[in-house]
Structures are given as C-alpha cells and as structure tokens.
C-alpha cells in the first residue's frame, strides 16, 4: 500500500514514523515545532510528539549541531534541521571537527549517529544565500556521509537509512523538488541503502550523472535528445554523494563509453571532478570522448532574477550531450 506524496510529504512521513518507532529520536531546529518548519516538513509533528521531541531551538547553528552531538553521544538519535544549507556555516566547525571525527578520535569508543537535514539548491527564487549547493564541503570531510535524494520515494527510504546509520549523515533536500511532483510512496518504513546510486534510465550512447534537482534536467534533456536524434542516454542518480557508488559509475561507462556530469554546484572542485577522476582511474580505456561537465558557474549563486542563467538548463545539458557524442 502507498500514497501519492510530494518529497516534502514523504520526508514528513519518514520523520513521523521514526519518531513513533523509537523514543530516542528527537528533531531539533529553528521554527520546526509550532511553525512546522519554514517549508513545513515537520508539520504536525510538534502537536503529535510534543515540545521535547520536536524541539524549537534557539537560533544558533553551532549550538544546535553541537548539542545534538552530545545528545547522540549519550544515546539519543537527533535529527537536526538547518533552515537553509548556507546557514550551516556557523555550525560547520561542529560538523567537521567534532561530528565527523568523534569516532576516529576515540578509536571507535564513541560514535555520533546524527542526521542533519537541510534544504539546498537554487530554483526557488530565494533571497541571497538561500540557494547554495556546496555539497563538496561535506564530501571533502572524512567521517561524514552525504546524501541527496531526487524524488519522494528515495527521500523517505534514504532518510530512514540515514537515521539508522551509526555515523553522521548530511541529508541534502533539493528545495526545488519539495513540492515539484508526487509519486507513490509505500506506507511502511522501507530503506534505501546509503552508498548506492540508481540507474533511472537505461541507455547505450552516453551516461548522464546527476543528483538532486538536476536529475529532472538530465531526464528532460535525455528525452529531447532521443526524440531529436535517436540517441539513448543512460541516466544515473547518484543519491549518495559521499562515499560515491563507484561500481555503478564504472559499469555504466563500460556500457556507454561516454559521460556527462550535471550538477548545479560550482564547477571548480565540484563533485563532477571527482566522478571524472573515478572514471579516469577505472574505465579510461572504455572512453570514446572526453567527459564533459555541465554545472553552475564559479560565481556566488546570483540573485534570483538571473539564477536561471546560473543553473544548468535542459538546453545546456543537451548541448553537452551533443558535443560529447559527436566528439
């Protein structure tokens, strides 16, 4: 059995079920209680579970993440909501110096089973610093895991896995997709393993790697190219950004011989570079063309009046496909 849910509803359902399933689960964040979250992802949970389980914290990201580290050390299962990804910076120190390192520093004696959820990415016409996609910061930090779902079904399954993971997980929710579409989501608490990418569309001419909201662009471009030129693109949703699912990446390249990476994060040192590197290491001889990246530019995400020009568009992705296949 299932229901048609938006990604936001799927996330709320996952949170609800986890709170109901295990007393140790707590949700902490700014405006997540009475207000139900600025995007309403925690709607109804405060009423259902009370102020001690769904906690409206002071406005202090370091305090939130730092105290959640302590809660996790002492047996709780905190889920932190950071209101927008760019506001994680005051708590960045806690993440990289403590959450990520606690297990290492104590040689496995103390772990930090912590989930940090945050909306990220552009395309919502947000004000300054509401549209960043800086997943690289976290994917560069040993000890953290980074997850970014692209649809309601995955969002629920991955979030439940994130909470059951013994290590800290940064759960990046593509803001643009929160209410973009609905999809059948099973009622039960199912899990999608962290660390596994998904081939969302089979193809033979080129592989597009994408995640988060860029998956839609990738699929749309692949469809248009097929209609226009008859080329069949394989589309891979990475889902977990750190550690990456190398096997799926490499297998797909062995099959298609061409790759295009689409991400809205800045190009330089973006995850695309890492994927190219993996392919270079593992499947260079299968390549028929240089790997291309279609990404956000190396500029701060611009004001929303022109953010569409920053973001990879279906046309830019199409162009990338054409250049790669006709190399």
């Amino acid at each position: 059995m299932g229901k048609n849910l938006t990604m936001l509803q799927a996330i709320t359902e996952a949170l609800d079920q986890m709170l109901g399933h295990d007393d140790r689960v707590m949700i902490l964040g700014e405006d997540i209680g009475v207000n139900g979250g600025v995007f309403r992802s925690t709607e109804g949970l405060y009423e259902k579970y009370g102020k001690d389980r769904v906690v409206d914290t002071p406005l202090a990201e370091s305090g939130i993440i730092g105290s959640a580290i302590g809660l996790a050390l002492n047996g709780m299962l905190p889920i932190v909501e950071i209101q927008f990804l760019a506001f994680i910076y005051p708590g960045f120190e806690q993440l990289v110096s403590h959450a990520a390192r606690m297990r290492y520093r104590t040689r496995g004696q103390f772990g930090v089973p912590l989930v940090i959820r945050t909306p990220y990415g552009a395309g919502i016409r947000g004000p300054e610093l509401h549209s960043e996609s800086v997943e690289t910061f976290f994917a560069h930090t040993p000890g953290l895991k980074v997850v970014a779902p692209s649809n309601p079904y995955d969002a629920k399954g991955l979030l439940i896995s994130a909470l059951e993971d013994p290590d800290p997980v940064i759960f990046l929710e593509p803001t643009k997709l929160y209410r973009a579409f609905k999809e059948e989501v099973p009622d039960e608490m199912y899990r999608i393993p962290i660390g596994q990418a998904k081939v969302v569309q089979e193809g033979s001419d080129l592989t597009i790697f994408a995640w988060g909201s860029m998956l839609r662009e990738a699929l749309n471009a692949a469809k248009k190219i097929e209609d226009e030129k008859g080329w069949k693109c394989e589309v891979v949703d990475l889902r977990t950004l750190y550690p990456l699912d190398r096997d799926t990446i490499v297998q797909s390249i062995k099959k298609t011989g061409r790759a295009l990476i689409v991400h809205e994060a800045h190009k330089t040192a973006g995850l695309g570079a890492e994927i190219i590197s993996i392919i270079n290491d593992e499947a260079l001889i299968y390549l028929k063309a240089p790997i291309k990246r279609v990404t956000g530019f190396d500029v701060p995400v611009p004001p929303f009046t022109i953010e569409d020009h920053y973001l990879p568009t279906v046309d830019r992705v199409k162009q990338g496909i054409v250049e790669t296949i006709s190399f």
Partner: protein, 370 residues
C-alpha cells in the same frame, strides 16, 4: 599575608577584583564553615592528588625537553581547580576536557599512561576506561561546551542523575560556542557544569583585552543561570562549589557557570615563550609565594597534624614510581601501525578507505618499513 597590587590581578579583572568564594586562605586558615563536608580523608585525598599531578606535570615537561613526548600543555598552578572539580564528580558523569585538563581527566579515571600516549601522539591516547565518559581533549576552543549541553540534555531526558562538566579557559569565553552553550543550557535547564579556569591569559592576550566584563561568572546572569566566582587555588572552595553545582543539577535546577580564578606558572605550551608578552618570572613567583594551591593546603594539614615531611617524601617517592611505571607502559605500548589511520573513520569501512588502506599497505611492504 597576600601582598596588594600583585601583577596578575590586572589580567584577571582590570582593576579591583570582585569578591570570590574562598574557604582556605593562602596562610592555611579556614575562614568559612565547611560543616564537616570535607573530612580528613578527603582533605588528604585532595592533597595527594594535587601532588601527584604536579609531579606528573613537571615530569611531562622534562619528557618533552628530552624529546620523549611531543608539545605539551602544562597546568602547574591549576591543580586545585582540576583536582577539586573532578573529585566532586561521580564516576558516571560526563567530562569534556581541553588540552590542558588532563589533570582533571586523570582524577576522573583516565589512566596516566593514556595521557602520556596522547602527548606522544598515539592514536590510543584518547581512549578512556570502559564505562567512563571522558571525551578526548578538545583542541578547538569552546567547541566542547555545547557537547556537554547535549549529553546533559540526554541525561535529563533519560532521567539519569548524571552531570556533564565542560572545562575551558578564559579565552574560550569570547567564542560563540561559549554563549551558545550557556544559552542552550539555560533554555533546557540541562545538568551541565561550565567550569572555567581563568588563568588570566589566552596565550598572550590578558583577560582585560579579551573581554570588557569584569568577571566571567557575571555572564551567567545574562542567561539566567547560576554563576559563581571562586578562588581556583583553594581546593576546598572549588570542591564545595562544584559539589553544590552537582546537587543543583540533580535537583533539576539546571546549569552552573563556575569561574575558578587561577594561574599557571609555566608557558601556554612547551612551544610557547611567555617572556615575550608578560613578566613571567615576577607573576609566577608572586603566585607561587602567595597563592599556591598545594602549599596552602599543606600549611593547613601540617597545622592540624594530618600531614608531615615524612609522609610527603614517601608520597612523592610513590608518585614518581607510579608515574614512571605508566611512562614505561606508554613507551612500551605498541607503536601505531600506519594502517590504523584508516580505522574508525566510519563504523563500517567503505570502499575508498579499504582501497587506500591497501595502497598504503603495499607501499609499506615494498619499502620494507612495516
């Protein structure tokens, strides 16, 4: 008697020093009633532990000079603060020390040889004994304070009678995390003890340049939590204050901010030269002669006939032997295998770490260095 116009007062409070809680004067007189709360055996325990730690601290500095341990952060002069606070805790309480609080950690149950291992930069130097909750020393300033709020918060939720104590210095009170921790602790009334050892300096910066507040304890008012300023070189005062904070926490009265006014005679670390920024000799001499935590208790114990020269000599001999035994254990401890760097990054090793580990392993085998 204490001289007036001593040099360190300025660094502590830019002028007149406000009242602080004191029980035992530098001359070894008890000036507050202690109502039988501190009996003879506890007094002797306090004294011996301080002596042990001083011996350990001096030994560590020597070991650093001999190149047997790495850079070391000394605490001599702060023994009353570290021993007094740690002795007031129960075994199950959570402790979040800084790089200077290995004294407190040892008193709370950390094994001496582990502390040596830590300063020898051994991976296993931060492991605490089974069942203890002593976290690794925090190197980034003030960050551990919020963790102590979290563990205490969880204790409260679970209905466990444990407190969490966070150690920090005066410099830490300028960091955002100090304020976030106090604020959270106040809002959630967590059983957290914020224990500041105000030794007057954050490396080279004296407290008067660190903050415009006269004291650190007064900050408690801003968060509506309990704040106390105490003579950090008076172990009775420190112990009583922390004990009271523990009791308040158990009664559900929430956090306490304690400012223990103290001074460390030595450098910030063995890599630092304090003569550049303060009159090191003059200040240290002043504190040694007028305020030393060990001398002051020894005066009292001698007067009461609880302690004498012979006992002191015997104790020192035993402590030296104990410390040497731990040092031997640490020096004989198996060296970290380079491959250990890949362990415990995650609960389960992922593919990239497995491969990188194998890569290093092959390099090591080829080089014959393993």
């Amino acid at each position: 008697m204490e001289k007036t116009g001593n040099p360190i007062m300025k660094a502590h409070s830019s002028g007149v020093e406000p009242e602080m809680f004191r029980v035992l004067t530098p001359d070894g007189e008890i000036i507050e009633t202690i109502d039988g709360k501190i009996d003879k055996s506890l007094m002797l325990k306090m004294y011996e532990r301080m002596l042990l730690l001083r011996t350990f601290d001096r030994k560590s500095i020597n070991l650093q000079r001999q190149g047997r341990i790495g850079t070391y952060a000394p605490f001599e002069g702060q023994e009353a603060s570290q021993v007094g606070s740690a002795l007031a805790l129960s075994a199950g309480d959570w402790m979040f020390p800084t790089y200077r609080d290995h004294g407190a950690a040892i008193i709370h149950g950390q094994e001496l040889y582990r502390v040596f291992l830590y300063w020898m930069a051994h991976f296993d130097g931060s492991i605490c004994p089974e069942g203890k909750r002593i976290l690794p020393p925090s190197v980034p300033i003030a960050t551990q304070m919020v963790h102590a709020v979290g563990t205490a918060w969880a204790s409260k939720i679970k209905g466990e009678q444990n407190v969490s104590i966070a150690y920090f210095g005066d410099g830490a009170t300028s960091e955002g995390d100090f304020h976030e921790a106090l604020n959270f602790a106040g809002v959630y009334k967590t059983p957290t003890i914020f224990f500041c050892q105000n030794n007057g300096y954050a490396i080279s910066v004296p407290f008067e340049k660190q903050s415009a507040s006269k004291t650190i304890s007064q900050r408690a008012a801003a968060y509506d939590i309990h704040g106390v300023r105490v003579d950090g070189n008076d172990i009775f005062a420190v112990w009583l204050t922390v004990k009271e904070a523990v009791e308040r926490a158990h009664k559900g009265e929430g956090p306490t901010l304690i400012e223990a006014v103290t001074f460390r005679y030595g450098a910030h670390t063995t890599a630092d030269n304090p003569n550049i920024y303060r009159d090191q000799e003059e200040i240290s001499t002043y504190w040694r002669e007028n305020r030393d935590p060990i001398t002051r208790l020894s005066k009292y114990l001698n007067k009461e006939g609880y302690w004498n020269e012979e006992q002191e000599e015997l104790a020192l001999k035993q402590f030296n032997e104990l410390i040497d035994a731990h040092l031997q254990k640490a020096e004989g401890y198996p060296k970290s295998d380079p491959l250990e760097m890949f362990n415990h990054v995650y609960a389960e090793e992922s593919w990239h770490l497995k491969e990188q580990k194998q890569e290093l392993n092959q390099i090591l085998r080829k080089g014959g260095k393993k």
